[in-house]
Every structure is written in C-alpha cells, then in structure tokens.
Symmetry: C2
C-alpha cells in the first residue's frame, strides 16, 4: 500500500453524499439509479476490455451484464410507478459516478485504483437502494429495492475479494494461474 | 412466509456450530473446506439442473463454477502448506453441509427452501474463512482467507437477493420475464 491509493482516477466523479438523497423526489432518484446502472455497465465494459487477466476480465464482464439487468429492472419499476412518463435523468448523482475507462492502463496499480472506486460505488449503490426501500410505498416495491441493494452488496464483496488479492500481485498471478 | 420455512430439506445436514472450529487442526479445517466446496458445487449443479427459470438457473450455475475455482485454490493452498501430503477429509463439517439435490422439485417453495439453506451455508463458510484467517501465519495466507471469505459473502448476498424476490413469485415472474 502506498500513496497512490489516494489518487482519484479520471473515470470518477465523487458525487453527492448519501444524505443528499432527501433533496430529491422518488422519480428523480429512480432516474439517478438508471443513470448509475448505465454508467456502471459502461465502466465495467471498458475496464474489461483493458484487462488481460482472464479470470478478472471475466468477472468484470459478468458485473457489466448484471448492471444491464438492473437497468432493465429499474426501467420496468419506473414504467410501473410513472406510467407513460419519460425517465428524467437528474444532472446530480449520489456517490461516485463511474465513467467509461478511456485510457490505457499501466500495470496492476491502475486496476487496483479503479476496482477500489468501483467498490465504493457499489457500496453507495447498496445503501442508496436501502434508502429507496424506505421511500417506496408497497411491499412489492420494497422487495425490489432490497433485491437491488443485496445484489450491489454481492458485487461489493466480489470486488473486495479480487482487490485483496490484487494487492499482492505476485501471489495473485501464482494462485490465479496468470502467466505467459 | 409460513411454517414450511422451518423444514430442513433432505439435502442438508446441519453440521457443527462455528465455535467447534477450535477442536480441529488447520490441516483438518482446510480438508473440511475443500470438502465443503465440493459439496456446494454438486449441490448447485444438481439444483441448476432442476430449475427451469433461466435467470435463476444461470445464477446457480455460476455459483457452481465459483465453488469449483475455490476448491482448486484451496488445494493449492493445502499443497503449499503441507507439501506432498494427501488431503485428509474429516468426517465432521462445520455448518450446513450441502448435498446434491436428487429429488424432483415441486413448485417455487421447494426452491425457496433450498436457497435459504444455501444462504446459511454461504454465511457460515464466510465466517469459517474469517476464522481461518486468524489461524494462518503469513500475510499471504491471511489474504487468501479474506479472499475466500469475501467471495462467500458475495454469494450470500447474491442468493439473498434472489430469495427476497422469489418470496413474491407473482412479481418475480413478471419482473424477470419468466414466462410459460
């Protein structure tokens, strides 16, 4: 671990703290959630394209696919709650907003930094959906928000696991059969 | 929710409580862990074969593949710590031991029961690896145990998410595009 850990990669905007959720309507928050899922998918897709470690590449691609499903689910929830309305995407976002990775990555430290931010984004997303659970009115909608929150916690722990091992690259490459 | 929730499906043995971990050597515990990963893989594989809900089937198959990777990783850790020794598989196991699903499943309640038990097994596995982290002696091995623990937490939350929605089957089938 070193000072590099504190750098914010260019793919990230830190966004608003979770408490600011109170400043928005449920409709705006659902729009934000859809936008966040799209951002996360593009982030993971572009990250996967830049990673050669097969094991990790596949995991990141899997995450991209998961976020796509969440986007679709959220669009259905929105259509159900606000029939016939176009989704409004607020300019603001709660928590780190993930952007596509456009640069070449150099070495494992770049990957570690991005995964650490993805972990942060997943953690905030999990808490965000837990807050939405309190705001929606039916047991059915609460259940869907719990589903999304739990899924994001699942992503968080999955990324955390990889992150842990990546910090010891020599071991990661040995244990994960990464090699020429 | 109803009384069925309390039933123990035939695929499960409850196993020893986590505290009993102290009664075993590290070598025995690693053997137990390998056995548990094999059991979990066979459980998920057989469960996936009996589920027609595509979305859920794929998730369960994914879990089976993950447990396979964990088994391989544990075998490497074992070989590294006890070179040249055959793995000893203790008869005992900590937490619910998952067995292959050999029966026909009838309706969603059977699936819900099995997923609830898988959640329990994943939760105990996550805590089991966290205990092993305390027992192993190098930072490298501790890291590997954290990796495994985090991965199992990832599985736990992933299953919990599906479990939540399955409890409202009408909604699950609508939201997940489950059709005839």
């Amino acid at each position: 671990m070193n000072g590099v850990m504190k750098m914010v990669p260019p793919e990230l905007e830190e966004g608003l703290p979770l408490e600011r959720i109170e400043d928005f309507s449920l409709e705006e928050l659902l729009g934000m959630a859809v936008k966040a899922e799209i951002g996360a998918r593009k982030f993971y897709q572009s990250l996967a394209e830049r990673i050669d470690i097969v094991e990790l590449k596949e995991k990141i691609e899997w995450l991209a696919g998961e976020e796509k499903k969440h986007e679709e689910l959220l669009r259905k929830i929105y259509a159900n709650m606000f029939p016939g309305k176009e989704i409004v995407f607020p300019k603001e976002h709660i928590g780190p907003e993930l952007q596509p990775v456009a640069r070449q990555l150099h070495g494992v430290q770049d990957i570690i930094d991005l995964i650490r931010w993805a972990m942060k984004a997943e953690e905030i997303a999990a808490k965000f959906y837990a807050e939405l659970e309190k705001m929606v009115d039916t047991e059915e909608k609460k259940r869907l928000m719990r589903y999304l929150s739990d899924m994001e916690w699942g992503h968080y722990y999955n990324l955390k696991a990889e992150y842990e091992l990546l910090l010891d690259w020599a071991m990661y490459s040995q244990m994960m059969n990464v090699g020429p």
